[in-house]
C-alpha cells in the first residue's frame, strides 16, 4: 500500500436496516459527507443485514454508517457479528439517530465505534469517519 492510498478519500456506506424509513438524517449526513469530498454509497431504507455486508464487501467501503430513528438499532449487534463472520471484523460501524442511553452502551459493548445523537454536528461525524478510516488503513498497511 502506498502513501497515496492514505490520501484516497474515505468510502462510506450510509444505510438503514430493519423496518423504519425516516431518512432525513441519513440523507443529510450522506449529502454532507459527499460535499466533504468522501465517496458515499447510499442505500434506501429497510436493508437486510446480509445485503449490507455484501454491499460493504463489494463496494470496498471503509466505514458503515447506520441511521436508526425507531428501534432498528437493536439489530446493529447482529450486523457487527455478520461483518465479523464475513471477515470484515475491522470495519468500523457507526450509528446515528434516536438511541436511548442503555441501548447505546449495549451497542458500544457489541463493537460499534460510535453513536451520534440528534444535535451532533456534521463536522464531528466527518472527522470521526476520517479518523477511523486512517486508523483502519494504517493497520491494514
Amino acid at each position: 500500500m502506498t502513501v497515496n492510498e492514505f490520501a484516497r478519500p474515505p468510502r462510506v456506506l450510509i444505510t438503514k436496516i430493519g423496518l423504519d424509513g425516516h431518512d432525513r438524517g441519513s440523507r443529510v449526513v450522506a449529502a454532507h459527507l459527499r460535499d466533504a469530498g468522501m465517496e458515499v454509497i447510499y442505500t434506501p431504507p429497510w436493508q437486510e443485514i446480509s445485503a449490507v455486508v455484501k454491499l460493504a464487501m463489494e463496494e470496498d467501503v471503509d466505514v458503515i454508517g447506520v441511521s436508526s430513528l425507531a428501534t432498528d438499532h437493536l439489530l446493529v449487534p447482529k450486523l457487527v457479528q455478520a461483518l465479523r463472520d464475513a471477515g470484515l471484523g475491522d470495519m468500523p460501524v457507526i450509528v446515528g439517530g434516536i438511541v436511548p442511553p442503555d441501548d447505546e452502551q449495549a451497542l458500544l459493548a457489541a463493537g460499534v465505534a460510535r453513536v451520534f445523537h440528534p444535535g451532533s454536528a456534521l463536522e464531528e461525524i466527518s472527522t470521526l469517519i476520517r479518523n477511523v478510516t486512517s486508523e483502519r488503513r494504517a493497520k491494514a498497511a
Binding site: G18, L19, D20, G21, H22, D23, R24, R27, V28, A30, A31, H32, R34, V40, Y42, P44, P45, W46, A70, T71, D72, L74, L75, K78, I98, P100, P101, D102, H117, P118, G119, A121, L122, E123
Partner: protein, 559 residues
C-alpha cells in the same frame, strides 16, 4: 363605532415613522437580514404601511365564510375546542386496549391506533425479527387482534384515527369487527391517517408501498368505497407533516400538500365522482414547527388557498367542500436530546401556533420523544399542555385572535405567495404525481433539509442546548418502557394458532379474488381487502398479495 380601516396618511404618521427609522438605524447598527424558514425576509416593524385592512372583505372576511382565512366554522374554538388526539400504540392488542380504556375513562371522545412498524411495512409478526416487534406501536395482524384492541369501545360513538397506509387493512379489520358486533357502518366515524401514499414516496419511507400506479388505484378505490358505504369516514388525510419533518420549509410543505390534495381530487373526478361527493371528507395533517408566526401564517394562508382551489379549480359548489379541516402535530425535529425537559416549552409554543392557526385537532409530542416512544408521564404532560392552553390561558376565547396584526397579515399574504409559487412549480412539472415520479419534490426537500442543518451548524439558527446555552454532564435519562419479549413471542404463537383455526379455503378464495381485482379496473381493490379481512386473511397476506400483483414501491430516493 370606530372606522374599521386605517388609512394612510394618518395625521402625524409620516413624521413619526421617519423619526422611528432614524432612531432604529442609529441604535441597531449593522444588522444581518432575518429570514424565516420559508425564506421570507422579516422586517423589524410592521405598520399600516404594510397592511391597512383595506382589503378586509376579500382577504379575511368572517369565520365560516369565504375566503376562510379566519377559520372554517363560525364559532371555531369558542364553540368547540380542538380535539385532543394523542397517538397511542404500544405492545400487544391487550396492552393497547388497557391504555385506550384509561384514556376513554378520562373523557376522550376520539382515539388513535398506531401499529407496530412491522405492520407499516406490510408484515405479520412472524415475518420480522422479534427484537424489534411492538417497540413502536401495536401489533395488529388480524380482525381478531382488532377486536381485542377495540374491546369495550363503542364504534358508533367514538371516532377512530387509524394510522393505516394502503391497502388499509386496519380499517378492513375495524369494519369486520363492527359488522360482527352489529354496529351499522353508517355510524362509524374516523380517519384513514397515512392514506397519502405520495407523501410516503417523497418524505417518509416507513410505510408499506406498492408501486406508484398501483398505489394511485388503491387510494381512489378506497375513497370511492368509503364514500359509498361508510359516509362518516374521512378516507384521505393529506399529509404535509412528513414533508416538513423531512426538511421542507413551511411554505413548501403547505404547497406540496395542496398539490397532493389537488392530485387526489382530480383522480377522483377522473373516476367520475362529483367533487362535492368526496371533498367534504378530505382532511389534512400538518407539522407545527417552533417558527411561531410563520406557522400561524402558513395555516391561515393554506386555509384561504384551499377554499379557492376547491371552489375554482376543482369546481366544488358545497361550502363543506371548501373547508380546510386539519389535524396538526408539534414538530419532533425541533425537539432536542440535550436538556430534554426544555422540549415541554417548545411543544407549548408549537401548540399555540397551531391553535392560533385554527386547527381542528392536535397532537402534542412527549418531551422524551427524542429518546423513544413517550413514557406515560411525558404523554400526560403533553396532554396537560393542551389542557393548560385551553382551560387556563384563554386561547379559545377569541376567534383568530391574531388576525389584524400588521405583521401576521403581511406574513400571511407573503406565505400565500410563496405557497402559490410552489404550486406553480409542481403544476409546471405536470402535477404532484408526475413531480414525485420525477424526483423533483424529493430533491427540493433534500436541499431544504441540508440548508437548515447548515444554518444550525453555523449558529445562524439557534437551538438551545445544542449550539448555545449548553450544559456539561447532562443527567442520565430514565429507563425505557419496552414490551416484554415473552408478550411479543406470544403474539407470534397466537398468529400461528389463528391461522390453524381459520377456514383456510375461504381465505384462499378471498385472496384469489383480491389478486384478480388488481387487474380488473371495474372491480374495487379495497372492497376485496375488506372481504379478505372478513374471511380471516392476515395483514401480511393481504399486503403480500397486492405487492405480488401490483409491484413493490421502490423508494425514489436521491441524495
Amino acid at each position: 363605532m370606530n372606522k374599521p380601516m386605517t388609512q394612510i396618511p394618518l395625521p402625524g404618521f409620516d413624521e413619526a415613522e421617519r423619526l422611528w427609522k432614524e432612531q432604529y438605524a442609529a441604535q441597531i447598527g449593522t444588522e444581518r437580514e432575518i429570514r424565516n424558514r420559508s425564506g421570507i425576509p422579516v422586517q423589524p416593524l410592521y405598520t399600516p404601511r404594510d397592511w391597512n385592512g383595506a382589503g378586509y372583505p376579500g382577504a379575511l372576511g368572517f369565520p365560516g365564510q369565504l375566503p376562510a382565512t379566519r377559520g372554517i366554522y363560525p364559532t371555531m374554538h369558542r364553540g368547540r375546542a380542538w380535539t385532543q388526539r394523542q397517538l397511542i400504540g404500544l405492545g400487544t392488542p391487550e396492552d393497547y386496549n388497557r391504555r385506550l380504556r384509561e384514556i376513554l375513562d378520562a373523557g376522550a371522545t376520539a382515539i388513535s391506533l398506531i401499529p407496530c412498524n412491522s405492520v407499516y411495512r406490510g408484515y405479520d409478526v412472524d415475518q420480522v425479527d422479534p427484537l424489534i416487534l411492538g417497540t413502536c406501536g401495536t401489533t395488529v395482524n388480524t380482525a381478531q387482534d382488532m377486536a381485542t384492541c377495540l374491546e369495550a369501545v363503542d364504534l358508533g360513538r367514538i371516532s377512530v384515527g387509524l394510522n393505516d397506509p394502503l391497502p388499509f387493512t386496519l380499517l378492513a379489520f375495524l369494519l369486520t369487527v363492527a359488522k360482527r358486533r352489529g354496529t351499522p357502518w353508517e355510524k362509524i366515524t374516523g380517519t384513514s391517517n397515512q392514506s397519502d401514499y405520495l407523501s410516503h414516496f417523497v418524505a417518509n419511507h416507513m410505510f408499506f408501498r406498492i408501486a406508484l400506479a398501483g398505489s394511485r388505484r388503491v387510494l381512489t378505490d378506497h375513497i370511492e368505497y368509503m364514500n359509498r358505504y361508510v359516509p362518516g369516514w374521512n378516507p384521505v388525510s393529506v399529509v404535509g407533516q412528513h414533508m416538513q419533518q423531512a426538511g421542507a420549509t413551511p411554505a413548501q410543505a403547505m404547497g406540496f400538500t395542496l398539490c397532493t390534495a389537488i392530485q387526489y381530487a382530480e383522480d377522483c373526478i377522473a373516476r367520475g365522482m362529483a367533487p362535492d361527493a368526496f371533498l367534504p371528507r378530505f382532511s389534512f395533517f400538518f407539522d407545527i414547527s417552533i417558527s411561531f408566526f410563520e406557522e400561524i401564517a402558513k395555516f391561515r394562508a393554506g386555509r384561504r388557498l384551499w377554499a379557492k382551489i376547491a371552489r375554482e379549480r376543482l369546481g366544488a359548489k358545497n361550502a363543506r367542500s371548501w373547508r380546510f379541516k386539519f389535524h396538526a402535530q408539534t414538530s419532533g425535529v425541533d425537539l432536542t436530546r440535550q436538556q430534554p425537559l426544555n422540549n415541554i416549552a417548545r411543544v407549548a409554543v408549537q401548540a399555540m401556533a397551531g391553535i392560533f392557526g385554527g386547527l381542528q385537532s392536535l397532537h402534542t409530542d412527549g418531551h422524551d420523544e427524542v429518546f423513544s416512544t413517550p413514557t406515560a408521564e411525558a404523554a400526560r404532560i403533553a396532554v396537560n399542555t393542551q389542557n393548560i392552553l385551553r382551560e387556563e390561558a384563554g386561547l379559545t376565547d377569541v376567534i383568530d385572535p391574531l388576525g389584524g396584526s400588521y405583521y401576521l397579515e403581511t406574513l400571511t399574504d407573503r406565505m400565500h405567495e410563496e405557497i402559490e409559487k410552489v404550486i406553480a412549480t409542481v403544476d409546471a412539472a405536470g402535477g404532484m404525481y408526475a413531480a414525485v415520479e420525477k424526483g423533483l419534490v424529493q430533491q427540493m426537500i433534500g436541499e431544504s433539509a441540508l440548508a437548515f442543518q447548515r444554518k444550525v451548524e453555523s449558529g445562524e439558527q439557534k437551538v438551545v442546548g445544542v449550539n448555545c446555552y449548553r450544559v456539561e454532564n447532562e443527567p442520565p435519562v430514565k429507563a425505557l418502557e419496552r414490551p416484554a419479549r415473552e408478550a411479543m413471542l406470544s403474539q407470534v404463537a397466537r398468529l400461528k394458532r389463528y391461522k390453524a383455526e381459520r377456514p383456510q379455503q375461504a381465505v384462499n378464495d378471498a385472496l384469489a379474488r383480491l389478486a384478480a381485482a388488481a387487474h380488473d379496473p371495474k372491480d374495487n381493490v379495497f372492497g376485496r381487502v375488506v372481504e379478505a379481512a372478513g374471511a380471516g386473511a392476515t395483514h401480511g397476506e393481504i399486503c403480500r398479495t397486492l405487492r405480488a400483483e401490483m409491484g413493490f414501491g421502490q423508494p425514489l430516493v436521491m441524495v
